[in-house]
Amino acid sequence: MNNLIKGEKHDWEMVIGLEIHAQVKSNSKLFSSSSTKFGSSPNSQVSLVDAAMPGMLPVINKYCVEQAVKTGVGLNAKINNYSVFDRKNYFYADLPQGYQISQYKYPIVGEGKVTIDFKDGTSKDIRIVRLHLEQDAGKSLHDQNPSKTYVDLNRSGVALMEIVSEPDIRTPDEAGMYISKIRSILMYLDTCDGNMQEGSLRADVNISVRKPGDEYGTRCEIKNLNSIKFIKQAINYEAKRQIEILESGGSIEQNTMLFNTSTGKTRPMRNKEEAHDYRYFPDPDLLPLEISKVEIGKIKSSIPELPDELKNKFIETYKLSNYDASVLTAEKKTSDYFNETINSDPELKNYAKIVVNWITSELFSLLNKNNQDLNNSPVSPENLGQLIKLISTNEISGKIAKDVLEDMFSSGKTARQIVDEKGLQQVTDQGEIAKVIDEVIAENPKMVEQYLAGKDKLLGFFVGQAMKLTKGKANPKMLNDILKQKLNKKN
């Protein structure tokens, strides 16, 4: 795979690191008992703590701490027994405290790594620097009024896990795969709902370019991207921008950028004069956070099967390819559906690859077309299993099965019902197929002549004609075999 971008003078390589912000899936906020529900009326979930009224003190949510540890374990990371909350100071209208409670020098989770899998069967590790706990800010609406910004503090104080990667990512696709993998791990662990549209999961992208083999170049940070598509677009645009500057003899200024989703362009957010000076210091309202080995052990033992383990299990048990297995395990609902389907009949485990194909291509495209989700698929895993069983026992052909699936999808009937009602059973009677073939041969003497003269492609024509006569129900393999036999006899 070539990861380089062609330049005027030489090739360029992107160097990318991600800071992912994942909202902890909890009932209440990190330091207050306000609800975290999304989409409530403005400022209805704001306690005096969240509004930073004088004298209010933060009390940490035990569950959020446990979820951060859990996520750390899922990222194969070191869990720190001792961590400290710091104040990160800056002024903004949606930050009533004037500082964000975050973790700086002593984060709760240290170094880890995740693996991304490519289509060609190779994979790559992306190293994690740290995961720390912090408060989310409120939400500002800038476009409602020409001279005012409206502020809603419902989100203010919701627990966030910030997951920081090393600059190990080299392409926009890798960035997309990395965030998908993190999302997948979070959703298996159930520590974040992974909803990027609602902003439960968003990312800041650090990007620089260099001549391959050179030192890292100066980087820019693109803030607050909430879809994988935008992440890729923003990286592509920003890399091109940086290369253009460098190739025309300029230099990159370290800057924080915003991505405009409608124009697809990045622009600087703050000018250099106001460069960040967060004046981090330990929050005097909060004691250091200590977690005992026993507590960490308890959390570790509560961790469900993660996508990578499940992937290896699928490869081993069902002899699936690395890629198929990673597609199946990318989302928990998909691996759950696969498990239920393949376990619905003891025979099916011999047809695992077929099961994968029917789920990830046929069923997925039907769901997509009808704007539905696998979670409430009109075709249950048992019913899909039954359909695949009918294919594997040659009772119906794969082609007819596609129609049956569509019928199952819209009518809710089982495969068996549909096949019986419509008489779709495959014709596997030698004599019956031979009879149809004789008919086709008799009706097309010219074609037969041409075929025998060497026009092999015509075989498809005969197959098509015979299929038409059997309404697509002839067993394709038998049809092919008998047809060849009969044609060759004419020779």
Partner: protein, 95 residues
């Protein structure tokens, strides 16, 4: 460490405080004398001593993850100089 005019201006800007020349001079004097006083601590030998982050021996109290569904938006917005339909309204903060 010495506090000079540039430092005091930077701190003032970070704190969103406007200082006139007279006030700046006063603060430079005050802050320097505080720093000098604190710097006496440098006389103590702290080799092989772990930094002390907290003088309390108690452990961080934690709460259960229970949300109270009280809507205090009226009280929260009571002191806001400007508001609209449940939102705080502030001067526009982007160009």
């Amino acid at each position: 460490m010495k506090i000079d005019k540039n430092t005091i201006n930077k701190i003032a800007r970070l704190s969103r405080i406007k200082l006139d020349d007279k006030e700046s001079e006063d603060y430079i004097k005050d802050l320097n004398s505080i720093l000098d006083w604190v710097e006496q601590l440098n006389e103590v030998n702290t080799e092989n001593v772990e930094p002390l982050s907290n003088i309390s021996s108690s452990i961080l109290p934690k709460r259960e993850d229970v949300s109270n569904d009280t809507n205090s938006s009226e009280e929260i917005l009571e002191n806001a100089p400007d508001k609209l339909e449940g939102f705080f309204a502030v001067p526009k903060v982007v160009e």
